[in-house]
């Protein structure tokens, strides 16, 4: 039996930064993953956007914390994640969308977000060449940005290694043993792991892990396809999100990475539920048509590669954070709905402080700042309100 303070299942966007920040606080941490190395679940499928521009205050707070971390990694640790404060631009083409965005603005500002409504001229300045014919404006949050998920995962892995986290790869969870309302041990990869706290950070496979522990999680993966182009000289700054939808697709978004490539992704319509990550022929013609209608200058840009990743969705589009009643020391950090990469570091920061303060109490002394997260994102919530900027 291997004994740890905390055993985390899933060495991905959520598990890696959490493990590092726990170990930094002196805890003995093990990180288990069924893959051959870190970040090989959905982390490597993420396109890299990092925004605090959400409709839900809890998510805004988590991501502001993430941005604080991402933006300081280079200076503080000398680790390059290709972070760039390019901003997010949600563009609107009709009054109704404008009204919706502007109503959100107040909420977002109240939660501490730097965001403004900007007109087509500003948008054209931020993304020269973009068609502004029908554009009426958009919200611009200049402190949002983007980074390389691969480099970020490697950096967090490196920090975690240095902080003493024990990594167990090719280690699949076989059994989770319960004693009353507590998890006593986990069997994985031929070993037994015991700990005070276990964490489910298994991303798209979170519901499978819960099932092994004997409960259901409302986390259902759906598929999104993404692509990347060749690099070119910088010509645009923000991540552009077009929330319009048509018969074949929902919203789509793209940005120019710090290294010059355009990275893009689209929400298919109808949604593709399941785990089939193989590319289909429909994605490229669809997403490219929509991008070129908006931004014809991209026509000469060569697409280099495409891939498909999963969004571990919850019924209301918000993550699930908390300790279930039937397993009171089994923290669920699941259902990130495709935003594990942008939420992971912030969550890791908040959760590690909570655990370090007093283990698996959701509202430890002196932790009142973030305690509300556990209420809003509780596994026991009703799941009836919808995230507007999903």
């Amino acid at each position: 039996m291997k004994n740890y303070d905390v055993v985390i299942i899933g060495a991905g966007s959520v598990g890696l930064p959490l493990s590092w920040q726990l170990a930094e606080k002196g805890l003995k941490v093990a990180l288990l993953d069924e893959e051959a190395s870190w970040g090989r679940g959905q982390n490597r499928a993420a396109i890299g956007g990092i925004r605090a521009t959400h409709s839900d205050p809890a998510k805004i707070r988590i991501c502001l914390e993430s941005i604080r971390l991402f933006s300081s990694m280079q200076e503080k640790y000398g680790l390059d994640m290709e972070w760039r404060e390019g901003g997010y631009l949600y563009i609107a083409f009709d009054e109704a969308t404008k009204q919706q965005f502007c109503a959100l603005l107040k909420k977002q500002k109240a939660a501490g977000l730097d965001i403004e409504w900007v007109g087509p001229e500003t948008i054209y300045r931020l993304a020269p060449g973009l068609r502004t014919d029908d554009l009426i404006g958009g919200t611009y949050s200049p402190q949002d940005g983007y980074a390389s998920p691969l480099m970020a995962a490697s950096a967090f892995h490196y920090l975690a290694l240095a902080a003493g986290v024990s990594f167990f790869f090719n280690t699949k969870v076989k059994a989770i043993h319960r004693e009353g309302e507590r998890i006593s041990s986990i069997e994985a990869g031929g070993e037994s792991f015991s700990a005070d706290i276990f964490v489910n950070a298994a991303g798209a496979k979170a519901a499978d892990i819960a099932k092994i522990a004997g409960f259901d999680l409302p986390v259902f993966p759906d598929c999104h396809e993404a692509g990347v182009t060749e690099p070119v000289e910088r010509f645009m700054e923000p991540m552009i999100v077009d929330v319009r939808s048509d018969a074949e697709s929902g919203n789509y978004y793209f940005y120019q990475a710090a290294t010059g490539q355009i990275v893009f992704c689209i929400t298919p319509r109808p949604q593709i539920w399941g785990r089939d990550k193989d590319s289909t022929s429909t994605f490229l013609p669809l997403v490219v048509r929509r991008m070129l209608e908006l931004y014809p200058r991209l026509r000469n840009l060569r697409v280099r590669r495409t891939w498909r990743g999963m969004y571990p969705m919850t019924p209301d589009g918000l993550p699930i954070i908390g300790y279930p009643d039937m397993a009171v020391n089994f923290l669920q950090l699941v259902g990130m709905c495709g935003q594990g990469f942008m939420m992971g570091p912030g969550l890791g920061s908040i959760i590690s402080r909570s655990i370090a303060a007093s283990g698996c109490h959701e509202r430890p002394e002196g932790f009142t700042d973030y305690g509300f997260l556990f209420d809003e994102l509780s596994i026991n919530r009703s799941f009836d309100h919808a995230e507007l900027l999903s």
């Binding site: 480099m151 490229l284 490219v288 070129l292 014809p296 000469n300 060569r302 697409v303």
Partner: protein
């Protein structure tokens, strides 16, 4: 312009139009329709871009549309110059750093999805793909063959030499360039077969469709029932200091420039690797009037066919064994290459360095199957077979049989083939044709008689027998050891008319004719595949099998066997060694006092490079050419992060560049070894579409409105 005007085998291209175009603002010219890269190289322009990471010059490397090192700004748009046809008035520019996206901001004209359906999609119109197409066509299947090159034939169109194998099985004695046409005609005799050229397959998708970047302009989706992957092979890379300089190119790239585009690309080359590709490249260089400093082989034996090696040696090109390249250097392009002897661990031995003034280094260290699409298709549950080099690296002759067998197997898998359609002989033939060279035998000395007789300088078992089948008197037979065409030929009859058919057909140029004409004189007839228009009145150097000069005499007569495009030269020589004379030294190399031996006479030259620098594991050498990541960066990253998964190197951008890891994936094992990780434990790169970069405008067929909606699939594609 450096053009090959008088190639002994290839006829000058007809209907070529010389056009002017602009290179960095300067007006130069090239042939319309030839790749921009070839036009530039013929004009002596070798640097196409300066890398965005460190400003290092980049030039042509694969000439195969794969590696992207040749990308330039062509009419304002970044394009691969090796697959972009030259047009009059083109504006071609060197790229400095990252290219700027042109501000073409007019609204999208149209977005259209084009798709066709076929029973069977064959990727690659080389020998395997064409043979498979003919076989499937004969069974009535709708077959679409998609090839990325402007003409069908695969690498056959680069092969100016005669084929090994047998006449009955695979056109032995015919040149590759001609076999390409024969195979294409055989496939196209079936109306259900369509061949698309300039049509690279860029992706295979789960929904049983393939994306084709048609004419490097538009995007065609092909729905298919089953797939034949006959995509051939790509050349393996070799990592040494300076391998990233323009002028270091793959041997196949050299053959493309010289034999397809007739560009006299370089003045003097040095070849690394003694497999058949390296040996033939040397021969091709001489035919193109390009000097060869030598062939350098790290192993202790020649890797290719002995007859090829002998042919090269006889022409005066040394083959150095136990030797490898340690460095290439030059300003903007290769000007000098360093070689050294290696120990049993293939490490350079200090003090054995020697340098050559060359303007190109050819890498010919083997081939790796292009089988990504096969693996992808199988993962997607798509019915797929592979044939040719994509299945197993071997000669083109065996690829023909691989294609036939794969096609018949596929038909059976589809439940539509005729029972018994697979000829059991095919697989046997394929295997024989794919055989590695067997044993070598010493031949007994021949004493010339009054009658003509053939003399064989063919002493290594290889799959080849056209001499036996071409002899009108059936006087040549194979010695029955293995019972197949691997067996060596010998003169079995006592009758020989001296017709020279065997001399002219022999792909290894390893047969001569001799007869005694006086007590001390004999005549010898030798094959010759170079021009015979000048210099022949002078004495020529006649050499033995290994290239030792035996005699200097003039030609007494010559005749050309048109069918084989081969000259037969007759000389009168001393009868004592007439039967040992195997060939003529190349005119260019006749000045060299004596042939060099297979080992370098090593001088302890005061080396300008230290032993550490000459190490093949020079840590500051770039491994990932696309992103210019050095061995040191990779090794450090592996150590620092405890990496056992090649995919993690993507954090360094290794494998994330334009080539998609095609070049470096074979080289990164070395980094793991240096970092102390067992390469067997390494999780390999994950492959994803696209296989080749495609502009967004092409993916939605924006440009097609200009073409008047011409349908892409002409035949066999409803």
């Amino acid at each position: 312009m450096n053009r090959i005007e008088h190639h002994p085998i290839l006829s000058a291209k007809k209907n070529l139009t010389l056009v002017n175009f602009s290179f960095d603002g300067e007006e130069i010219s090239g042939y319309e329709g030839e790749p921009v890269a070839s036009a530039l190289i013929s004009e002596g322009r070798h640097v196409f871009s300066y890398h965005f990471r460190d400003g290092f010059p980049q030039g042509l490397f694969c000439a195969n549309g794969q590696c992207s090192q040749c990308t330039m700004l062509i009419d304002g748009i970044p394009k691969k110059s090796c697959v972009t046809p030259l047009a009059k008035g083109m504006d071609v520019r060197t790229i400095h750093g990252l290219p700027r996206l042109p501000s073409q901001d007019s609204p999208l004209v149209q977005a259209e999805r084009r798709s066709i359906r076929t029973d069977i999609l064959i990727i690659g119109a080389g020998p395997a793909g064409l043979a498979a197409a003919a076989e499937l066509g004969s069974m009535g299947f709708q077959v679409l063959v998609a090839d990325d090159k402007p003409q069908a034939g695969g690498k056959l169109i680069l092969q100016t030499h005669k084929f090994f194998g047998s006449e009955a099985d695979c056109y032995a004695g015919t040149r590759g360039i001609d076999i390409a046409n024969i195979l294409q005609e055989e496939a196209l005799q079936y109306p259900s077969v369509t061949i698309l050229t300039n049509a690279p397959v860029v992706g295979i998708y789960k929904d049983r469709k393939a994306g084709i970047y048609l004419n490097y302009e538009s995007y065609l989706l092909v729905e298919f029932t089953a797939l034949v992957v006959a995509a051939g092979a790509r050349e393996k890379a070799l990592h040494f200091p300076g391998w990233d300089l323009p002028g270091v190119i793959a041997a196949g790239a050299f053959q493309t420039l010289v034999n397809r585009d007739l560009v006299k690309a370089y003045m003097k080359i040095l070849i690394i690797g003694s497999g058949n590709v390296g040996l033939i490249a040397a021969y091709h260089a001489l035919q193109a009037d390009i000097e060869v400093a030598g062939i350098f082989e790290a192993a202790g034996r020649v890797n290719g066919y002995q007859v090829h090696a002998d042919k090269i040696r006889r022409l005066g090109i040394p083959i150095h064994l136990n030797t490898t390249i340690t460095r290439a250097e030059g300003c903007q392009k290769v000007q000098r290459a360093y070689v050294a002897a290696v120990d049993e661990r293939f490490q350079p031995i200090p003090g054995t360095t020697r340098d050559y003034e060359v303007d190109s280094v050819l890498i010919a260290v083997g081939l790796a199957p292009c089988n990504e699409f096969l693996e992808q298709a199988r993962r997607y549950g798509i019915m797929a077979v592979a044939a040719g080099d994509a299945s197993e690296i071997a000669e083109a002759s065996s690829a023909i049989y691989g294609g036939k067998t794969a096609a018949a197997n596929l038909a059976l898998m589809l439940g539509l083939g005729k029972k018994g359609a697979i000829d059991p002989g095919w697989e046997k033939t394929r295997k024989v044709l794919a055989s590695r060279p067997g044993d070598c035998y010493e031949r007994s000395p021949i004493v010339p008689g009054k009658e003509w007789r053939p003399v064989f300088f063919c002493s290594e078992e290889i799959p080849c027998n056209p001499c036996a089948t071409v002899c009108p008197l059936r006087s040549i037979e194979l010695r029955s050891m293995q019972g197949n065409i691997m067996d060596l030929p010998y003169f079995a009859g006592d009758r020989c008319t001296g017709c020279g058919a065997c001399v002219a057909i022999c792909p290894g140029l390893a047969i001569t004719l001799v007869r005694r004409v006086a007590d001390d004189k004999a005549q010898v007839v030798l094959p010759w595949e170079f021009n015979v228009d000048s210099g022949l009145e002078e004495d020529m150097e006649l050499v033995d099998q290994k290239g030792e000069v035996l005699e200097r005499v003039p030609i007494i007569s010559k005749r050309k066997v048109q069918k084989r495009n081969t000259w037969l030269l007759t000389f009168e020589v001393d009868v004592a060694h007439a039967a040992r004379i195997a060939g003529v030294r190349h005119l260019k190399t006749q000045q060299v006092p004596r042939p060099q031996k297979d080992t370098i006479e090593f001088k302890n030259i005061p080396s300008i490079i230290s032993v550490e620098k000459s190490s093949l594991e020079d840590l500051d050498t770039v491994v990932c050419r696309c992103e210019r990541i050095t061995l040191r960066e990779i090794v450090d990253f592996i150590k620092k992060n405890d990496v056992k998964d090649a995919n993690q190197l993507k954090s360094l951008r290794v494998g994330m560049g334009a080539c998609g890891g095609k070049t470096c994936s074979q080289l990164i094992a070395k980094a793991f070894i240096i970092a102390g990780v067992n390469p067997a434990e390494i999780e390999p790169f994950t492959q994803r579409p696209l296989f080749m970069e495609v502009p967004m405008g092409s993916l939605v067929n924006e440009g097609l409105h200009k073409l008047g909606g011409k349908d892409a699939g002409t035949r066999g594609a409803p």
